[in-house]
């Protein structure tokens, strides 16, 4: 005998205490598109709803997940059409679907859906890398490395995958961070604490899409101007 049907939602481990301005439900996740006061950056965006796959195979270099070539060397990344492929080691790659809904997990045995295994955050904007420097000894400012690139190591003492997506002037730039989901609350506390002096604020997914240049969906019709609008 079954009980009555309950609404089922998926919950992100990230809960910002900011006023939500706009959100939408996507694949049972409530995705915040914008918060009321996002400030001028740096920004912290929750991407835990973005599908993330683990791919392990002895011949990974020959694999083309979603038609994309796995980067040749560990630490290298490929960012194409909103999909980020991080080469992690000799036999493993991470595939993150940063824009929109991911396709079905491929049937080959090497793939595992690990979306729920990690918390995924984007930290970007002015002085974003100064926030990082307060929590992490990994060198994201190495002029010899061009983004995107992957570093794996402790971030606020927690093992993380960190992908530098952009390096600007000084400490400006942005990165993506993924660590064990259980650390989400501690990681937020550490990040927001470290970023307070720089004005780090939670931001919605739109801010992230604008940053990484997600193409806007083509609108069928231009919105009709209201009376009085120029």
């Amino acid at each position: 005998m079954r009980s009555k049907t309950m609404p089922i939602e998926r919950r992100s481990p990230v809960q910002f205490h900011s006023e939500i301005k706009k959100s939408e439900v996507r694949d049972r996740w409530t995705v915040v598109l914008a918060y009321a006061d996002e400030g001028r950056g740096p920004f912290l965006v929750d991407l835990s709803h973005a599908s993330r796959w683990d791919l392990q195979d002895r011949n990974i270099a020959q694999m083309t997940p979603l038609g994309k070539q796995v980067p040749e060397s560990p630490g290298q990344c490929l960012f194409q059409d909103g999909v980020l492929v991080n080469r992690m080691n000799r036999t493993q790659a991470a595939i993150w679907h940063l824009f929109g809904t991911a396709p079905e997990l491929p049937a080959e045995p090497g793939y595992t859906d690990v979306t729920d295994a990690t918390v995924c955050l984007a930290l970007f904007g002015p002085n974003a890398l100064a926030v990082v420097e307060k929590l992490c000894a990994l060198d994201f400012l190495d002029p010899g490395k061009q983004p995107p690139f992957l570093l794996q190591g402790p971030f606020s003492h927690v093992p993380c995958q960190l992908v530098l997506m952009e390096k600007g002037r000084g400490f400006d730039g942005g990165l993506l961070l993924a660590c064990s989901r259980g650390y989400a609350a501690s990681m937020l506390h550490a990040l927001l604490g470290a970023g307070a002096e720089f004005g780090l604020t939670p931001a919605g997914e739109k801010r992230f899409n604008d940053w990484l240049g997600k193409p806007e969906p083509v609108k069928a019709r231009p919105a009709r101007k209201r009376k009085g609008e120029k």
Binding site: M1, R2, S3, T5, M6, P7, I8, E9, R10, R11, S12, P13, R28, W29, S48, D54, Q56, D57, R58, T91, Q92, P109, G110, T112, V114, T115, D116, A117, T118, E133, K134, L135, C136, A137, D139, L141, D142, P143, S156, H157, V158, S180, R181, G182, Y183, A184, A185, S186, M187, H189, A190, G193, A194, A196, E197
Partner: protein
């Protein structure tokens, strides 16, 4: 009265700040340190010394000794010389009974004869009954400063972890030139400077740099260049505290007013390091050489030039280097009456400086030295003698500027394992060879000519750039040529102590160690500086050896000259500069893990404890016996958040081989739809983990581990298969999947309400595995297990769905009175059933057989060797091992604490877990005991912490205590 118009000032006289000291308000100005602000207000005695309660005053300005350690805003041992004064600070003198000026303990100075070197090691021990009393008294008077036990540290502490190509330690002329040279090649450079500004020994000096500008002007010119370079990061007021392998450099920085921190810890990784830390002064050893009014050359000079404060009215200089002459000339020009300058050196002085002294009619004595400072609390007079002691003169004065020579600050080099050797020319301890990718520059190499200082910095900067792969060969060769053209290292003074007995000549101010104490230690056989240091405690105080570091080995060698002793320096150790523990703690983010059900558990009244890396709900009421939680599971149904369990996917053609290698059971027997329980051992056969394995598909397995081992499991597999070249892969799903354990006789009824499938005992029996899709949405992996000894289902579901699933089950169980149970209730339940938890019922030496889990070991499996089985075969024949037994207490209401010892005349085992069982109404538990105590009925005595000799009594009983046939979990 401030000198407000000096171009060298680093204070802003237009902005005042007020400190509270001794019941008065002391006005300082912006940029003052606590010490200079107090000095400006006439404070000359800052505290009292450790043993003798001698008055102590301003001696250096860089915190080289504890003279000016004070309590500031409740924090003891704050170095007043290095601490910037802030409005409203409350400052107190330390180690005083009364006040710094009138200390009732001052009589201790008269009893110094009772306290020879190492007196506390040699006296007070006999008769033995005296020691406890003496110990209390020594502890009462030992140490400087007091802190309230409930003191809470205020302030903002942070940390940063920057990376650089070149890290330059020292922001003087050499350091800045090195930084510019390296940065000129596009490298990332970090420059650390301990003072709040760049400039080093150039910063306060008005002597000529070249024909056009003064030294301080050159210092500021270099500082502007450094600060303007985009690829040089400058950390001022940042003291280097450590240097480790691979050029890991640590420091702490004191925040300026505009900074977001009060202090922060800095950890720098650099490809190359330049050490340009310069020199401090080698104290002159003479009687009462630490009397307030005696100060170092740099202290007196900087007090005037940097802070605008005249150090005294009438001064006598007793010095051994040209910086002393330069300071005498300058202070004379600034208004200090210089009664006499006595130079240890017979010759070698800069003639320009001698001429300048003559022009100012300052008496100058060659080969003379101060032998005694007179005056009770402050200097009133000084005795000077020729260095052979034959002729003496006395001068009235309120200031003795004294310095025997210079001491290079080689701490960073020695921390990096550089070997130091005494250099007879400079009188310094200099490195014989530098560690790889580390370079020394500036005054620490013995060079004092300004151009030579800079040239050595440039050369070091270019060499550091070469370490980073830049071709600087030509530029470095040119820089080396330039350096050779300039004056080289200067001859240093060799005088160690003035011709005095040394009764009150202090070699270490912090520990009140005199020259006489050193002689006593050597006479007692402590013949090398490292031993003398420990026996006399010289150099072990807050100054970190700054004051005695050079003089101690020099004096020890001189005193033992007949034995051919050579000066050997003591070892520098981290931290080179002391600071607050709070700074090392930094922001101290507590990084712990929370389950997907964390918020729900809190809302349900969960009492959380940190268990390993996880925050877990241990109780659900303030009744920590968990009576209601336990009984509800035994009689009804309860839910536990078990999400912390380790969970893994293992896949690939060789996955089974990997399982066979790690697990003691035959994993080929793992069949679809069934659970296989097994254990892992280490090479010694000791159990490290247990869990269940499920075959999901061909070459595809899902297995669980204990919470504690989850983080290490993947590496454990990889390590033990590293030579096999097997094709398998492991995915850690610990956080990906949450776990709800629904247990109790009504568990099936609850679950049936949310799952559209046959859950009967026949369709889903004990030890079976099933997969369900709840409401066509939530994929659930369900296992029939019985850890708590009841009908139980373990539901594994994606973490993001866990809240929804929990709510669904809670609602379904409402009619049965379902309720949460926490980790402690689970602990009691499984203990009643004698199901073990590894790490609780085992320790490092406990093997599979000790725990009675030998049945898990499949001795016949073929194909691969299993980790630990060789050792297990040997252990099988060993009768003398510990055994896990059940125990029942004589007193049914009194369970011993976990970990209590089982004893007779010696320790025979220990209690693993024991509780008063609410189900059985008796106190039971499990214990590991020596095998001859393992027989049923054996009486055991238990020694518990603080039992005051009254042992608890128990006897060995059969296990399990609850439902021995296991009917309930199979129902």
């Amino acid at each position: 009265m401030r000198l407000e118009q000096l171009p060298t000032l680093r204070v802003d006289p237009s902005e005042s700040c007020a400190l509270h000291y001794g019941g008065k308000t002391c006005q300082g100005v912006a940029g003052d340190t606590v010490a200079t602000a107090l000095y400006a207000n006439g404070v000359r005695i800052f505290g009292r010394s450790l043993k003798y309660h001698r008055p102590r005053g301003l001696y250096s300005l860089d915190g080289e000794c504890s003279n000016t350690c004070m309590a500031v805003d409740g924090i003891p041992n704050v170095r007043a010389e290095n601490t910037l004064a802030k409005n409203g600070m409350h400052v107190e003198a330390q180690n005083v009974m009364g006040s710094a000026d009138f200390d009732w303990m001052g009589f201790m100075d008269k009893l110094s004869w009772l306290m020879p070197a190492g007196f506390y090691y040699r006296t007070l021990h006999k008769p033995a009954r005296l020691w406890p009393f003496a110990l209390k008294q020594v502890r009462k008077v030992a140490g400087l400063g007091k802190i309230a036990p409930d003191f809470r540290m205020k302030g903002r502490y942070a940390e940063i972890y920057p990376t650089a190509d070149v890290c330059v330690i020292g922001g003087g002329a050499a350091g800045m030139t090195a930084a510019l040279a390296a940065a000129g090649h596009g490298l990332r450079v970090i420059l650390l400077e301990a003072r709040p500004w760049l400039g080093g020994c150039f910063d306060y000096r008005v002597g000529p740099y070249d024909g056009e500008k003064a030294l301080y002007q050159r210092g500021r010119e270099l500082a502007a260049q450094v600060e303007g370079a985009a690829n040089i990061r400058v950390f001022v007021h940042a003291s280097n505290v450590g240097v480790y392998n691979n050029n890991l450099v640590t420091a702490f920085q004191v925040g300026a007013r505009s900074d977001s921190f009060d202090e922060r810890y800095i950890e720098i990784r650099a490809a190359s390091v330049v050490v340009a830390t310069g020199c401090i002064e080698r104290p002159l050893l003479f009687e009462n050489n630490e009397r307030p009014g005696v100060m170092q050359v740099g202290c007196a000079h900087r007090l005037a030039r940097t802070y605008g404060l005249l150090p005294g009215r009438r001064a006598v200089f007793s010095i051994g280097h040209d910086l002393g002459l330069e300071a005498a000339v300058d202070l004379c020009d600034l208004g200090v009456e210089i009664a006499c300058v006595a130079d240890i050196r017979e010759d070698g002085q800069n003639p320009d400086l001698l001429l300048a002294l003559a022009e100012r009619r300052v008496p100058f004595l060659r080969g003379w030295v101060a032998t005694r400072a007179h005056g009770g609390k402050q200097v009133e007079k000084v005795t000077l003698r020729t260095i052979d002691g034959l002729v003496k003169r006395q001068f009235e004065c309120d200031l003795i500027v004294a310095s025997a020579g210079l001491t290079p600050l080689t701490g960073p080099l020695t921390l990096a394992q550089a070997r130091l050797r005494y250099d007879a020319h400079t009188g310094y301890f200099l490195p014989t060879d530098l560690p790889a990718r580390m370079h020394a520059a500036g005054r620490m190499t013995g060079r004092n000519h300004p151009l030579a200082i800079e040239a050595s910095g440039r050369l070091a900067g270019l060499q550091a750039a070469a370490d980073c792969g830049i071709d600087t060969a030509a530029a470095a060769a040119a820089a080396a040529d330039r350096l050779r053209e300039l004056p080289g290292p200067e001859r240093g003074t060799k005088l160690v102590t003035a011709p005095v007995k040394g009764t009150k000549s202090f070699i270490c101010f912090d520990e009140d160690t005199t020259v006489k104490n050193i002689k006593q230690a050597i006479d007692m056989g402590f013949d090398v500086p490292e031993l003398i240091k420990r026996f006399t405690s010289a150099g072990t105080g807050p100054g970190q050896g700054g004051i005695p570091g050079h003089n101690l080995p020099l004096f020890a060698a001189r005193y033992q000259a007949l034995t051919g002793a050579t000066p050997v320096p003591t070892t520098a150790r981290v931290p080179l500069v002391p600071t607050l523990v709070a700074t090392y703690a930094g922001a101290a983010h507590d990084m712990s893990k929370r389950t997907p059900l964390d918020e729900l558990q809190k809302a349900d009244g969960g009492v959380f404890r940190r268990i390993g890396v996880w925050q877990r709900a241990r109780y659900f009421s303030q009744d920590f016996s968990c009576r209601e939680e336990v009984l509800n599971v035994r009689t009804n149904v309860g839910m536990l958040d078990g999400s912390t369990l380790g969970k893994f996917r293992l896949h690939g053609p060789d996955a089974l081989k990997a399982l066979q290698r790690i697990y003691v059971g035959d994993m080929a027997k793992a069949a679809p739809g069934k659970i296989k329980y097994s254990a892992m051992c280490n090479e010694d056969g000791c159990v490290i983990d247990d869990g269940v394995v499920v075959k999901i598909a061909e070459n595809d397995y899902y297995f669980t581990t204990s919470t504690a081992r989850a983080g290490e499991t993947a590496e454990w597999f990889r390590y033990h298969t590293r030579y096999d070249g097997w094709d398998y892969h492991i995915v850690n799903l610990t956080d990906a999947l949450g776990v709800i354990n629904i247990s109790g006789p009504n568990a099936r009824k609850v679950l049936q309400k949310v799952i559209d499938a046959d859950l009967s005992n026949e369709a889903f029996p004990f030890a079976a595995y099933r997969e369900f899709l709840i409401q066509k949405t939530i994929p659930v992996r369900a296992m029939r297990l019985g850890f708590v000894g009841e009908l139980s289902y373990e539901l594994h579901a994606p973490a993001s769905y866990m809240v929804a699933l929990w709510r669904m089950l809670a609602e379904a169980g409402q009619e049965f009175g379902i309720r949460n149970f926490g980790v402690e209730a689970q602990n009691v339940l499984r203990m009643e059933k004698c199901h073990i938890i590894l790490g609780v019922e085992s320790e490092q030496r406990t093997n599979l057989l000790d725990l009675g889990l030998g049945f898990l070991w499949d001795r016949k499996k073929t194909g691969t060797k299993t980790v630990g089985t060789v050792a297990l075969r040997q252990a099988e024949a060993d009768p003398a091992r510990f055994r896990l037994v059940g125990i029942e207490m004589d007193d049914s209401d009194r369970a011993p604490r976990d970990g209590s010892l089982i004893v007779d005349q010696r320790i025979r085992g220990y209690v693993c877990t024991a509780r008063r069982s609410v189900t059985l109404n008796r106190a039971v538990g499990m214990a590991l005991v020596e095998s001859d105590l393992a027989a049923e009925g054996t009486r055991l005595e238990i020694f518990e912490d603080e039992c005051q000799g009254k042992r608890l009594a128990a006897r060995v009983v059969p296990m399990p205590f609850y439902d021995p046939q296991g009917h309930r979990m199979r129902m």
